[in-house]
């Protein structure tokens, strides 16, 4: 079952912060985050395994609440290079299949 992402789109000015949410109706084993720029392939950001740990990647971090089956991606002090579509992907318990959400389009303007 496809995870639900919110918001669908967001516009930021350089230096502003953003949060992208991802939720699933099924029990999750892991959550994956990818960024895709227009006309390019998705690029891996991070994986979060059940256990609720938070991970960081430069000024991008994420959390995973396995009880609520939710994950959030935090982008701080946004840069122009952060623009793109962010996808969360989920892997259910007992599964190997990565199911992506519909994506959140992030636009960072000067």
């Amino acid at each position: 079952q496809q995870p639900v992402q919110s918001p669908q789109a967001v516009i930021l000015r350089e230096g502003e912060d953003a949060v992208i949410n991802c939720s699933s109706s099924k029990a999750l084993y892991s959550v994956h985050w990818y960024r895709q720029k227009h006309g390019e392939a998705p690029v891996f950001l991070m994986i979060l395994l059940k256990g609720g740990e938070q991970k960081g990647h430069d000024k991008i971090s994420a959390s995973f609440n396995e009880k609520k089956q939710q994950s959030s991606l935090y982008l701080t002090a946004s840069q122009l290079s952060y623009s793109g579509t962010y996808f969360c992907g989920t892997v259910g318990a007992g599964s190997y299949q990565l199911t992506f959400g519909k994506g959140t389009k992030l636009s960072v303007i000067p």
């Binding site: 994986i47 199911t99 992506f100 519909k102």
Partner: protein, 114 residues
């Protein structure tokens, strides 16, 4: 390190024709994936291989789509016959192990069915 290679990059065919896509994963990566990405949506897994065995093909329309990964390296995805709704970008990805690992995506093949 060379990335995931795919060819062709673009393909235009008429409905009911057949088409094949090729993928060469990163050397040493045991797991290979084929995704379909329709404009404005996230990638949808079609088939997943571990070496030359199929792990998951539950979302592959088997009446028209087929895929193989001979010798556990290169892979080919075929559509026969194509429908208008098959117009999409077909992405190949590979990862070192089966689960909980970064997937590296190729540049994709943009298919247009007219």
């Amino acid at each position: 390190e060379a990335g995931v290679a795919q060819s062709p990059r673009y393909k235009i065919i008429e409905k009911r024709q057949s088409v094949a896509f090729w993928c060469n994963p990163i050397s040493g990566h045991a797991t290979l994936y084929w995704y379909q990405q329709i404009l404005g949506q996230g990638p949808k897994l079609l088939i997943q291989f571990q070496n030359n065995g199929v792990v998951d093909d539950s979302q592959l329309p088997k009446d028209r789509f087929s895929a193989e990964r001979l010798k556990g390296v290169d892979s080919t995805l075929k559509i026969q016959p194509a429908k208008l709704e098959d117009s999409a970008v077909y992405l190949c990805a590979s990862s070192l192990v089966l689960r909980d690992y970064e997937q590296y995506f190729g540049p994709g093949t943009r298919l247009t069915v007219t």
